[in-house]
Every structure is written in structure tokens, then in C-alpha cells.
């Protein structure tokens, strides 16, 4: 089925609990390949928790419990036979605050491939990853310097390069620009537009203008449920659900 093969990731009747707190309530949603999907919603609506379901990050939280399926290229990632580490290679993640390792720029990008026992040309892989993250031109002559000496925006692009170095299919981005200034934000947003040629991207953002600018599809979450999911152009000009309307026009927040 073409509709299925077009879907790289999907949630099917997904429920998530942290202890007794029911965080996600029966979410069903498909993520289209080579598209940017934005998850928006007020604080505490479950959008970051939902994002973390896609690479089994919630397993790391004690007392969390998942029901329902997350399928990645048709396979249930929560299947006991599936290796969580392998899932996290294929589905990379970029966090809100840039979190480079206290190592050189080169070693940050080379870290994942080395752990995986990469046998190819590591220098070439690092260069390709830095180029794809639009950072190469700024750092190519100081790859041996500490990553911590980079600016916040550069550090975030380094984290993106680090995620790309293990050749993922999907990038999960959790508020990737919230700690960055407008110029760095614009760079990351441009980069997202370029990256979707090769990767499928899911981005959680509090900034609705950013969701409108960078994404193709937008899902609005409220209290653990998907209220509306559709083409970004439609959601931001003609939302169908009054709750979406109220949220994106700032009538509640």
C-alpha cells in the first residue's frame, strides 16, 4: 500500500502512563516520510512525551508504561526482539539545550560511529555530517578544538551533525531552537528545510510561527490527545476544531 510505505513512523492506539498519570490517551497518527511534522500544544499536553515514544526514550523514566504500537517502517519498535539502541540509531534525537560532549568537534561527531564500530573513512563521515548540518564551513579549520568553545547555535548544529553521523532515517527535535538567538534559530530552520530531503523530521515546538514556517504537517495535542492533525497551511489558516483555533490564535495558553 502506497499510503503505508509513505509512512515512516506511526502511532497506533498509543497510551503512556508515568505512574498513575495518564499522559497520552489513545493516540493514532502517521508520520510521512521526508516531511517535517510539527507537534504543538500547551505545556504539559504530552507532546515531548509523545516524541520520546518514537525512540523508546520513555523506557528510561521509572514507572513509565506504554500501551499500543509505535511502528517504524512497519515494525513495532516496542517488540521485545527489537534492540532499543538500534532504534535510537535509526531515529536520532536533538534536544532543547545543545549538549555537546566535552570533547573536540571531530570527536563529538565521530563518537556514535566509533561506538558502532564504523569501518569506513571516519574523516569523510565527519565532514559529510558537518556539511549536512551546515556547520562545516565554520569549523573545518578547527576540528580539534573543544566543542564547548562553539556558540550555542553552532553547538546545536554540532548536535545535529552528531545525530546525522550514525545515519538515521528520522530526526526527533525537541524544541531545538528555544535556547538560541533569532539568527541561530533561522539557521536551524533553514537546515530543517534542507534535511527533510534525506530524513523525516518530527519537531516539538512552543513557537507556533516556527511550526508554521518549518513544517509540512502539524498535530495539535491537548491533554494527551490529538485534537487536530493536517497540512500546516490548513491548520494555521483554517483549523477545523475550535480548540485548535483557540490555541493558535492565543485565546488560551
Amino acid at each position: 500500500m502506497s499510503s503505508t510505505s509513505n509512512q515512516v513512523l506511526g502511532a497506533d492506539g498509543l497510551n503512556l502512563w508515568y505512574g498513575t498519570h495518564h499522559v497520552l490517551k489513545g493516540i493514532t497518527l502517521g508520520i510521512t516520510r521526508h516531511r517535517v511534522t510539527a507537534l504543538i500544544g500547551p505545556s504539559g499536553c504530552g507532546k515531548s512525551s509523545f516524541l520520546r515514544c518514537f525512540n523508546r526514550m520513555n523506557e528510561l523514566i521509572p514507572e513509565s508504561r506504554v500501551e499500543g504500537r509505535i511502528h517504524f517502517n512497519g515494525r513495532d519498535i516496542n517488540d521485545p526482539e527489537v534492540d532499543a539502541t538500534e532504534v535510537r540509531h535509526r531515529i536520532g534525537m536533538v534536544f532543547q539545550k545543545p549538549n555537546p560532549f566535552p570533547k573536540s568537534i571531530f570527536d563529538n561527531v565521530a563518537f556514535g560511529p566509533r561506538v558502532n564500530g564504523y569501518r569506513g573513512d571516519l574523516g569523510e563521515l565527519v565532514e559529510t555530517s558537518l556539511r549536512r548540518a551546515a556547520l562545516w564551513d565554520e569549523v573545518h579549520d578547527r576540528l580539534g578544538q573543544s566543542a564547548l568553545a562553539l556558540s550555542g547555535g553552532q553547538q546545536q548544529r554540532l548536535c545535529i551533525a552528531r545525530a546525522l553521523a550514525v545515519e538515521p532515517e528520522v530526526l526527533l527535535m525537541d524544541e531545538p531552537c528555544s535556547a538560541l538567538d533569532p539568527a541561530s534559530t533561522a539557521k536551524i530552520e533553514d537546515l530543517i528545510g534542507e534535511l527533510k530531503e534525506r530524513y523525516s523530521i518530527i519537531i516539538v515546538t512552543h513557537n507556533m510561527q516556527q511550526a508554521a514556517r518549518v513544517s509540512d504537517q502539524t498535530a495539535f495535542l491537548l491533554e494527551g490527545e490529538i485534537v487536530e492533525y493536517g497540512r500546516t497551511g490548513g491548520i494555521f489558516t483554517r483549523p477545523e476544531d475550535p480548540r485548535t483555533e483557540d490555541y493558535i490564535t492565543g485565546r488560551f495558553g
Binding site: 507556533m208 483554517r238 483555533e245 485565546r251
Partner: protein, 224 residues
């Protein structure tokens, strides 16, 4: 929605309300201009026609002012959804209103060209056209305030009436011109008046289309 969600952006929504009020004020002025223009024609009131011609700037300023307000809100507030459609509607509607006022001014200019000469016939259909066109504008503005899609859609039928009357006026004046070539100058001017009123009605219909867009997000052609 749970209680912790507060209403926000009160200032912006108050601004949007003010914007809509400004559009209504402009619409009311345009409505009066249309009424006065046809009155000056029917009564041969040159002073009134002159005043209409000279006061056109007011409508132009209002248009600029409202457009600036819209652009400022777009830049500063980055509106979405309904708010975005309201601003889009106002931005387009002021252009229609300004054009309507231009047509009314053109009617006043016809009055000044005819310069009080006796009319070749008592005017019946032109005031009827004017009345329907003016009512269309009023109805479009009401529909805008009340977000009344049905009222906006009815404009299409009223526009048909105006078109029909214009056809009637055109044929009637053609007969006058054929029978007596001395009427050609004034009859041509009166045909222009009919044409201006017909265009005013078209712009009122456009306003109706924008009201429908504002409410539903869908573009509908009422001029078909």
C-alpha cells in the same frame, strides 16, 4: 478546556475589534457618498456634487490608515487562523470600499459635467439601482459584523437585479439617442452612471465573498 487555561492576547483582540470598527466607519461613509451622489444627480444639486468630489480624500486616507493598521498587526502579532482571515478580509475589503467611493465620485463628476441642464427623462431605474447597490453595501457590512454567511450569499441575487436594471437602462437610453441625437451627450453620461452603479454592486458582492472567507475560510465566487 480546563480552568488553568487563561484567555490571552486581550490587547491584540481588542485591536482586531477596533480594526473592524474602522472598516465599518469607512463603509458607512462610502454608503453615504453613494446615496449623496445619486441624490445630487436626481436633484441637479451641483453644490452637493462638488462636495462629494472634494471629500474623496477622506475615504482614501481611511483606506491607507486601515491598511497600515492591518500590516502593523501582521508584523507585530503574527496572527493565525480566524485572526489572520479577519485581517486578510479587512485588507481586501478596504480596497473594494475605496473603489466604490471612486465610482460614487465619478457619478458626482457626471453631475458637474451635465451642469444642471434639464434631464432628458425622469430618472426611475437609476435611483432603483442606486438603492439596491446601497442596500447591498449595508447588507455586506452587516454580514461582516454578524458573520452572517447567508446574508453575504444573498448579495449574489441582488447583484443580478442590479445587472438587470442596468441592461434595461442601457436599452432605454439607446432608444432615446436613436430618436433624438441631441440627447446623446447626456444619455451617454447616464449610461456611465448606470455602469458605475453596476460596478458598485459588484464590489459589494466582493465584500460578501470576503465575509464568507472570513467566517468559513473558503473562497466563493458570488459574481457568477
Amino acid at each position: 478546556m480546563s480552568d488553568e487555561h487563561q484567555v490571552t492576547r486581550r490587547g491584540f483582540h481588542a485591536d482586531l475589534g477596533a480594526l473592524q470598527q474602522d472598516l465599518l466607519r469607512m463603509g458607512t461613509l462610502v454608503e453615504r457618498t453613494i446615496h449623496d451622489a445619486v441624490k445630487s444627480l436626481c436633484e441637479g444639486d451641483l453644490a452637493l456634487a462638488e462636495r462629494i468630489r472634494d471629500e474623496d480624500d477622506v475615504v482614501d486616507w481611511m483606506e491607507l490608515d486601515i491598511q497600515n493598521h492591518c500590516l502593523t498587526l501582521l508584523a507585530l502579532q503574527q496572527p493565525m487562523a480566524k485572526d489572520l482571515r479577519v485581517i486578510g478580509t479587512v485588507l481586501k475589503a478596504v480596497t473594494d470600499l475605496e473603489r466604490m467611493a471612486d465610482h460614487a465620485v465619478d457619478i458626482a463628476k457626471v453631475v458637474l459635467r451635465i451642469q444642471g441642464e434639464p434631464l432628458i427623462k425622469p430618472l426611475i431605474d437609476i435611483p432603483r439601482m442606486a438603492e439596491i447597490s446601497r442596500r447591498m453595501l449595508r447588507q455586506a457590512l452587516d454580514a461582516f459584523v454578524k458573520e452572517d454567511v447567508t446574508a453575504a450569499e444573498t448579495l449574489s441575487r441582488m447583484d443580478d437585479e442590479v445587472d438587470h436594471l442596468f441592461g434595461q437602462i442601457f436599452r432605454e437610453l439607446l432608444v432615446f439617442m436613436m430618436e433624438d441625437p441631441r440627447t446623446i451627450k447626456q444619455a451617454t453620461h447616464l449610461i456611465f452612471v448606470g455602469q458605475h452603479l453596476e460596478r458598485i454592486a459588484d464590489h459589494a458582492t466582493n465584500l460578501g465573498e470576503w465575509v464568507i472567507y472570513q467566517v468559513t475560510g473558503e473562497r466563493k465566487d458570488l459574481n457568477d
